[in-house]
Amino acid sequence: MNSLSSPARLLGAAVSAPVFDFWSRQFGSIQAWDRCLARVVARQQESANAVSLTLQPNRRFGGFEPGQHVNLTAEVEGVRVTRSYSFTQPPRADGLLRLTIKQVEGGKLSTALCALRPGAVVELGEAYGEMNLPQGPGRYLFLAAGSGITPLMSLSLALEQNPQAEATLVYWAQQRAELCYAEELRQLAARLPRLRLHFVLTREPLRLAGELARRLDAGLLETLAPDLDALQVYACGPRGFVDQARLLAQGRALRFHGEAFTPPALAPGGGSVRVTLRASGRSLDVPSGVPLLAALEAQGLRPESGCRMGLCNTCACRLVEGVGQNLNNGETISEPGSELRICTSAARSDLTLDL
């Protein structure tokens, strides 16, 4: 703000973030004071149960690298819900972003996102994730299962800008209708001999030419990658799949990088969980199922608190990840961004608080 001239600074005193954001939206803009909003500009059915959204982010977007994810937030029934999705294209010259959303059965946000039409506005966080493709020579084995294809899709597309890299992509789905980007991938492989492509369908009665039907095991890996010790293996998919890939490849491949979605494991009451306090940079073990305020105080911390009965909201802090429980009504709280009143809430899994 120092560079601003004094009239601009005076105006800044009259306008706050909520006021700016409100009028910006009223005039149909997605510019915001300090948040990254993005407008859906195109929507494409990617498979039987997945949709790709092309998004135009506002100036607050900080960029990303292929293989990274972003927290996407949208309002469902008046409540903001946040989930992480991968960018499924490398950064584009026009600044547009593509995210692919698989509709999860009963999934609040995924159902709402799959129904979005061009013009809708969502919010994005900052890109994160370490599964990237360094410039320069490299040989890769990409193992993707189900929605695990999404980060590996942007990495496969990124091969085009990385002439010294070559890759084999193996993509598992149960049925052909669930494959995302099948045509796009075939065209990419046709254009780019450095990309070898294998679709594996585990529950498809009829196989087409080039399609495999085998689960990931040592034999398949030997067939697809006889030179495993010269490859960097990136695996992405359900936890079991990534564990299996790790078992087969780690220690043998040049490098192994796995990413799996892990729902937090609930700790039984009386067990111990790890609570990470992000703002104060501390991490400590507390008993699960007891009020967090008391548990933190027992360890010598003095978080801000008031009435100690869950009414004054003084001790509320934001849940970053993990599962908490409201001890007054038994309700579990797992949605990132929820406010947790630590005087009447307990940790039910390892959790991170913005405290």
Partner: protein
């Protein structure tokens, strides 16, 4: 205040528990319904605040033309009232935290008033709502300036109270702003100058921001009409102060509203806490518009029972609360704004002079005594 003795009956320990459970159950039933409708409502309130403010400020730019000045000032005052009461006050209680919208977050919301949100969260959300009407713990009783209850010690200073109360009403937003500083402690030597300066810093920043916005930037934007705009802003802020003062004083200082000694806090049960909230609060009856303009603090009783429930739900739970009160023999203190504020004015005048406490019904029935 002898009339209080006939209105309420003391509850036995068992009744107190049952009373608490009924109110807890009502809370759970209502909170289970909170959702999209409430989100839509608060968004509409935000939009109303913004549009009314814009209309008011736009009209004030033509403030050289008297009707535009009057209407512009009224609209700006109205916008500030809505922002403070139905939006700021309620959001800061965490009533909309479940939406997870950072701009409607109870811990971070900053309202359009000289008091900082943080100070208010302490003096109001924590102290006033936890220790409602407990003498010596709830600074809202007379704001350390007025004697409203006979239990407060009389000093000759209070003879000036009728005048002080009017000045306080006109400058109410400033009074609330400095409440957390507890200047009394400084003047009596229990707080150092350095401590006070430290506590004042964030408040000073907020005050400067509000002054610059209302009394410098917007008047400057009006160019030659600097003065009408400045004056309009001053008057709008005063209108807001008078209105909030009236509403807030009606909430706890009517004839039958009770205060409590600190001893009630010892081993207070949930039911006991509810009962204290009920006996210390009073409602305003009126139209839907009145409820909105008071930020639903017209339902002060319901607000005190359920401070973090979206305020638009108070009207819905009120009949049930009233019915529960009737069954437990408790007075449900409500009346028109005129009646309730008349009682407040009487308190201000009456207790400017020495007065002695009457006999007050205890909250709890002494052991061994039949109801």
């Amino acid at each position: 205040m002898t009339q209080a003795t006939t209105l309420n009956r003391p509850l036995s320990a068992a009744e107190m528990d049952a009373f608490g459970q009924e109110l807890d159950a009502l809370r759970s039933r209502t909170m289970a319904q909170v959702g999209a409708e409430d989100a839509r409502y608060i968004r509409r309130v935000v939009a109303a605040v913004r549009y009314i403010e814009a209309a008011g400020r736009a009209l004030l730019f033509f403030g050289a033309f008297p009707p535009a000045w009057v209407l512009g000032t009224l609209l700006l005052g109205l916008s500030k009232i809505l922002e403070n009461m139905e939006l700021g006050h309620n959001v800061m209680h965490g009533q909309y935290d479940w939406m997870r919208d950072p701009q409607l977050n109870g811990k971070t919301y900053e309202w359009d008033i000289v008091a900082t949100g943080d100070n208010w969260r302490h003096t109001h959300n924590y102290k006033h709502h936890t220790y409602t009407n407990v003498r010596g713990a709830d600074d809202d009783i007379g704001y350390g300036l007025l004697r409203l209850f006979p239990e407060q010690r009389w000093r000759p200073f209070f003879l000036f109270q009728p005048i002080i109360a009017v000045i306080f009403a006109l400058l109410f937003e400033w009074g609330v702003a400095i409440q957390r500083l507890e200047l009394g402690k400084y003047f009596s030597g229990r707080k150092t100058k350095a401590q006070l300066a430290e506590e004042f810093r964030p408040l000073g920043r907020k005050m400067r921001r509000q002054i610059v916005k209302d009394y410098v930037v917007f008047p400057l934007l009006a160019g030659p009409f600097f003065l009408p705009v400045l004056l309009g802003n001053v008057v709008a802020n005063i209108i807001r102060s008078l209105w909030t003062y009236t509403v807030i004083f009606c909430g706890h200082f009517t004839a039958d509203a009770e205060t409590f000694p600190k001893s009630v806090l010892l081993n207070e049960t949930r039911g006991h806490w509810y009962l204290r909230q009920l006996r210390g609060s009073s409602n305003l009856s009126g139209s839907k518009l009145l409820h909105i303009l008071t930020g639903n603090l017209s339902h002060q009783i319901e607000h005190h029972l359920y401070p973090d429930m979206p305020a638009r739900r108070y009207a819905q739970v009120a009949p049930e609360v009233r019915e529960i009160c009737t069954r437990y023999g408790q007075n449900y203190n409500t009346g028109s704004m005129l009646k309730q504020f008349g009682q407040v004015v009487w308190r201000i005048l009456r207790h400017a002079l020495p007065s002695r406490p009457g006999v007050v019904t205890p909250l709890v029935q002494p052991v061994g005594e039949a109801a």
